[in-house]
Symmetry: C2
Subunit: 604 residues, 2 copies
C-alpha cells in the first residue's frame, strides 16, 4: 500500500506562500498565533493522522459501521478521532476563546483538516459535524444551552449532527414535516423522521446533539416556517445526569463508499417523549442553517480534494515503481532487448498523473482561498470589507463544493486506470478512493443544486455586482501574470475566458428576464463545468505567478524542481483542461431545448 | 428494485430495422434461419435472463466468488448459466454445424448476449470465455483436440479461459515467460503463473480448458516466440476418464465490482506434471489469439453498453416515480402550494436521462454494426468483399471496445446522480452498476492501449485506406440524411467533423513521419475521445435516418413516440455531446509537450 497521502510541502506552500497565512495573522483576532505555532499545529495533525487515521482506512471499509438492535457500532478509531482530535483542537480550533475555542484562522484549520481527510476520509466527519453543530449553538442559542452542550462537544466527548433530510422531501427542504409542539415548560415536543444523518449515533459518545429542522405547529408553509432545535439523544435530567430523550436509530444506510462513516435513519418522539430546545427565533431555522452552510460546503470540497490527493499519491507511487512495456523507437516499434520502462515514462500515464495533480492542487488552493475569504469576512475592519469578502465567498462557494467533487472523482478514476487490473482489485486502495469520493457530488446539495445556486442566484446577485467583484480579483492575477513573459500567454487565455463568460451570460440572462427560468437554468450544470474551469484556471495562474516569481527571485524554501513542477502543471491545465471551456460555451449557447419537458407525454 | 434492464423494443429495432438482420439472412451460411426463428431465440434468451440471471445480480455482488483451500466457489447460478445457457446456444450459437454450432449470425448473438449482460453482468462471462476458447480450438487445433474438448465446452459442461497475463508483464505480452518444454510424447510440459484469469475455476465444471500463451524453450524473444497451448485442468487419462493436470488455483482477486465473476491466479506445473497441447504451429500463438480478439472486444463493448442500459432503466424508473421539488415559476421561485414535481420533469434530470439514453443506444447500435461487419466478412463472396469488411471492423474495433466502456461509465455515473443520496446506498442497484462497469475500460486492452491501436495502427493502416473506407461509409449516411430536411443540419455537422478529423491527422502524422512516435501517440487517448464521438454521431445519424423515414412512410412497427424519442436523442447528442469534439481538436493540436518525459528528473 502507498505510504503517502498528501504532499505536505505543497500543502504548506499553498498555505504560507500562495495564500499568505502570515498576512492574515496580523489581524487582531489571530494575534496570539504565528507561523511557528500554526506550523506545530499542522505537524501535530500530520503525526496524529499518520498514527491514528491512515493505518485504518482499509479496515474501516472492510468492516463498515453497522446497526444492530437499535444501536450503531463504529470502528474503535472513531473514539480516538473525537477525543484525541478534540484535544488537538480539531473541533474547537476556529471558535472564540470565550466559547472554548482557539481562534485559529479557518485557512489554517482547512490545511489541518485536509491532512485528516486525505489520511482517512471515514473519520473526520464525526468531528466536523460536531463542530458544525456546536457552531450553530454558539451563534444562535441561549447562553444556558451553550453552557449545557458546547464544552462537551468541543472536547469530542459528545457528538453532533445536522438533521435536515426527510424521506418524502429529499433535497427539497420546503417539504419537511417533522413537527415541534410547544409545551408549558418552554421546550417543544418533537416528532418525525430524519434520514441520511451522518454520524447519527455510535457506541462511544456519551451523547449526540442533533441540530434539527422542524415545523412548529401552525407555522407558515414552505421554507419560511422552519425552525431550528437542539434535540439531544440524552437530555439533562436537571440533577447533573442524562436521561434518554426518545431518539431512536431506526436503521442505517449501507453504502458504496465511506463505509466507516455511519449514515443513519433517526426517529424522534416515537414514544411521545422527545424534547427539543428552540435555537434562536422561531421560523428562522433555515436561515441559521444556511449561515453554516458555506463552511460545510468548503468542508465537502476539501474532503473531495483530499481523497483525490491520496489517490494521486498512491497512483504516482505505483507509476514510479511499476516497470511495463517499452518506449517507442523511431520506427514506431518497441525493442524487446531494451529493458522495460517504468510506466511513469509513458506519456499517457504522465498525462493521467498531471491531470490528477492539476485537479488536486488546483482544488486544494481553491478551498484555501475560500477559507481565507471566510477569515477576511469574519475579521473585517469595516462593513464594506465584510460585505466584499462575504460576496466573494458566496460567489465561489458552489464551485468550491462542486469542482473538487466532480473533477476529483474524475481524477481518482484516472488514478485507478494507471494501475490497470490492479486498480480494480480490493488489495489496492485506488478502488476504495473511487468509491469513497463518489458521495461528494451528493453531500450538502448535489451538483445540480449547486449549479442552480451558481447561475440562478450567485451570478445575478446584486445585479451582477458579485460577478464583477470576482472578475476584478481575477483581473489582478491576470495583470500580475501579464508582467511575466513565461505567463503572458496564460494571462491572455484567462482574460479571453472572462469575456466568454460575459458572452454566455449575455445569451442566457434574457431568458430569466423574460420569466423563462426553466430555460435559463436548464443547463446550469454545464455552466458549472465551464465556470469551474475558469476559476481553477485562475487558481493555477495565481500559483504560477507565485512559483515563477520565486524562481526569478531565487528566494524559495523548496527546490527549483518544486516550482518548475507547479509551472508544468499550469501548462498541463491550460493545454488539456482549459480548452474544454470552448465546447461548454458552444453547448451553453446552442438553441436546443431538448432537455425541457414538452407538453406531450415524456418519452425518453 | 427496478424491474427492467433493457428496452427490448429498442434492441429489436436496432437489430431488424437499423441493422437489417433479414438482409444478412439471405447469405448462404444463415439460410436455415429467418426472422421468426431468431426472434424466438432472442425471446428465449430474454425469458432465461428474466428467470435465471436478473434476480441474482445483487446476491452475486453481496456474496462474491471466493477462493478456499485451493478451490474456487462461485454462485449456484453459474451452473445454470453454463448448462441451461449452453443448451440454449449461448456458447455454440455462431459456430459451424459441423463443429456443433448453430450458424447464428454474430449480429443476432450480440443482441441475445446484450440481454444476458444487461440482466446480470456477473454471469455471461463464464459462457463467453468458454466460447472464445472453443473458437480458438475449432480454428487452429488438430481434429483430435477438437474432438476431445469442443463438444463438452459447447454444452457448457466444461469451462474455458484465456491465459495471457503474467505478474511481471501486465499488458506487455512480449514479456511473458511461462515455459513450454517439448516431450517425446508430442505434448509439452508447462510451467508458469498466470494472473487475472476470469472464470479460472469453479466447483461445478467437470473441467476447465485453459488456452494459454507460453514460450517454447529456445523460441525467439518477444512476441514472435509465443505459442498457444490447450492446458486443461484435468487431462484425459486415455481410458475415457480425467486425471488432474497440475493446474492449481493459487489465489483469487477480490474486486470492486463484477464480484460474482471470479478472477484467479493460476499456477501451472508447480509439481512438474502439467501437460500442454500445442495449438496450430509453434510461435504463432499471439497471431491466433489476436484473430479472436475482435470478437472479445466486441464482447467487452457490448457488456459495458448493457450495464449502462440496466443503469439507465433503473434511473429512468426512479425519475418517473420520485416526486421532489417544484418546477420554477415565471419569477424564478417555487410555489409551495403546487404539488411536488416528479424529478423527471426537472431539465437537469432529463438531461442526465438523455445522456444515458444517447450513450446506451448509440453504443448498442455500434456493437451491432461491428457484429454485422464480422458476419459480412465471414460470409463474403469474394476476397475483396472479405477484405472490405475486415478493414471496416478493424477500423472501428478500438472504439467499439472503448466508447461503451468510458462513456458507459460516465452514463452510469449520471444515473447514480439522479437518485441523489439513494444512488450511493447499497439498497439501490445504481451503485453496483457504477462499480461493475468500471472494469470495462481495463479488460482486453485498456483504453490507453486501444487508443494507441486506433491512432498508431488503424488510422495509418494501408496508407490510410482503412480510414478512407470508413469515411466513405459515413458519407453514405451523411448523404441519406442530407435528403431529409429535419436531418440536414446534423448531416452538415457530421461532414464537418470528418474534415476536422483530416485536419487533426494532418497535424499529427508529420510527427510519425519524422520518427517521433512518442509525440505522435502522446495524446492518442484524447484522439480516441474525439473519434468516438464522431463514430457515435454517425450511428445516431444512421438511427435518425431510419426513424425519420419510418415516420414519413408511416410504416413502423412501433408508436410514433418511439421514433420521435430516437430523434430527440439524436438532437441531444448533437447539442450536448458532439460539441465536445471542438475542445478535443483544440487539445490535440496544441503545441504543449508537457506529457512527454524530459531528460531531467521526473518531477510530478
Amino acid at each position: 500500500m502507498a505510504d503517502k497521502y498528501v504532499d505536505i510541502d505543497t500543502l504548506k506552500y499553498m498555505l504560507y506562500d500562495v495564500h499568505n497565512l502570515e498576512e492574515l495573522l496580523t489581524r487582531e483576532r489571530f494575534q496570539d498565533h504565528d507561523k511557528e505555532s500554526l506550523d506545530l499545529f499542522i505537524d501535530a495533525t500530520k503525526s496524529f493522522a499518520d498514527k491514528e487515521l491512515f493505518p485504518y482506512i482499509k479496515e474501516m471499509d472492510e468492516k463498515p459501521a453497522y446497526h444492530k438492535d437499535g444501536k450503531v457500532f463504529v470502528h474503535d478509531q472513531v473514539k480516538k478521532m473525537m477525543e484525541e482530535g478534540g484535544d488537538l483542537g480539531v473541533i474547537s480550533g476556529p471558535f472564540d476563546y470565550e466559547d472554548g475555542g482557539m481562534q485559529i484562522p479557518l485557512l489554517a484549520q482547512t490545511a489541518s483538516n485536509y491532512i485528516l481527510d486525505a489520511a482517512n476520509n471515514h473519520l473526520p466527519g464525526y468531528a466536523g459535524l460536531t463542530q458544525g453543530a456546536a457552531e450553530l449553538i454558539i451563534h444562535f442559542a441561549s447562553q444556558a444551552l451553550k453552557d449545557t452542550y458546547v464544552p462537551h462537544m468541543l472536547s469530542g466527548r459528545w457528538g453532533g449532527t445536522m438533521c435536515l433530510t426527510e424521506p418524502q422531501a429529499g433535497s427539497s427542504l420546503s417539504d419537511i414535516v417533522t413537527k415541534a409542539t410547544p409545551t408549558e415548560n418552554g421546550h417543544y415536543h418533537i416528532s418525525g423522521q430524519k434520514i441520511f444523518i451522518s454520524g447519527g449515533d455510535n457506541q462511544f459518545s456519551e451523547n449526540i446533539v442533533h441540530l434539527l429542522l422542524a415545523r412548529i405547529e401552525g407555522a407558515p408553509k414552505g421554507t419560511k416556517g422552519i425552525s431550528l432545535f437542539i434535540v439531544p439523544k440524552n437530555r439533562p435530567d436537571g440533577k447533573g445526569g442524562l436521561v434518554p430523550n426518545d431518539v431512536t436509530t431506526v436503521a442505517d444506510f449501507q453504502k458504496m463508499g465511506q463505509r466507516g462513516y455511519c449514515t443513519t435513519h433517526l426517529g424522534f418522539g416515537d414514544a411521545g417523549d422527545c424534547e427539543g430546545y428552540l435555537v434562536g427565533e422561531a421560523n428562522k431555522g433555515l436561515s441559521y442553517m444556511f449561515l453554516m452552510m458555506n463552511a460545510a460546503r468548503i468542508g465537502v470540497g476539501r474532503g473531495a480534494s483530499a481523497i483525490a490527493s491520496a489517490a494521486y499519491q498512491a497512483s504516482l507511487q505505483y507509476a514510479n515503481e511499476r516497470p511495463q512495456g517499452r518506449k517507442l523507437t523511431s520506427d514506431g516499434t518497441k525493442d524487446i532487448n531494451e529493458k522495460q520502462a517504468l510506466i511513469v515514462e509513458h506519456p499517457d500515464v504522465r498525462r493521467m498523473l498531471l491531470l490528477q495533480k492539476a485537479v488536486v492542487e488546483g482544488s486544494m488552493s481553491l478551498v484555501m482561498l475560500a477559507s481565507k475569504y471566510y477569515d477576511l469576512e469574519n475579521t473585517a475592519s469595516s462593513p464594506e470589507e465584510k460585505k466584499k469578502y462575504n460576496t466573494l465567498l458566496e460567489m465561489i462557494i458552489p464551485v468550491v463544493k462542486t469542482y473538487p467533487s466532480e473533477a476529483g472523482s474524475y481524477a481518482v478514476n484516472n488514478g485507478l486506470q494507471i494501475l490497470g487490473g490492479y486498480g480494480f482489485c480490493s488489495d489496492f486502495i485506488l478502488q476504495q478512493y473511487y468509491r469513497d469520493i463518489r458521495i461528494s457530488a451528493i453531500y450538502e446539495g448535489t451538483t445540480g443544486i449547486q449549479s442552480q445556486d451558481l447561475l440562478g442566484r450567485k451570478l445575478t446577485m446584486g445585479n451582477g455586482e458579485g460577478a464583477q467583484l470576482l472578475m476584478a480579483e481575477m483581473m489582478e492575477t491576470i495583470q500580475a501574470a501579464g508582467q511575466i513573459d513565461a505567463l503572458k500567454g496564460y494571462a491572455k487565455v484567462l482574460g479571453d475566458k472572462l469575456q466568454l463568460t460575459q458572452k454566455i451570460l449575455g445569451e442566457l440572462m434574457p431568458f430569466a428576464m423574460k420569466g423563462d427560468y426553466e430555460r435559463f437554468l436548464a443547463d446550469a450544470t454545464i455552466f458549472m463545468e465551464f465556470f469551474s474551469l475558469v476559476i481553477i484556471g485562475w487558481t493555477w495562474l495565481d500559483i504560477g505567478v507565485n512559483a515563477k516569481q520565486t524562481l526569478i527571485n531565487g528566494n524559495g524554501n523548496y527546490s527549483d524542481e518544486f516550482y518548475e513542477s507547479k509551472l508544468e502543471t499550469l501548462e498541463y491545465f491550460f493545454a488539456y483542461e482549459m480548452p474544454k471551456t470552448i465546447s461548454q460555451a458552444e453547448i451553453l449557447m446552442h438553441p436546443s431545448t431538448v432537455t425541457i419537458k414538452k407538453e406531450k407525454e415524456y418519452i425518453v
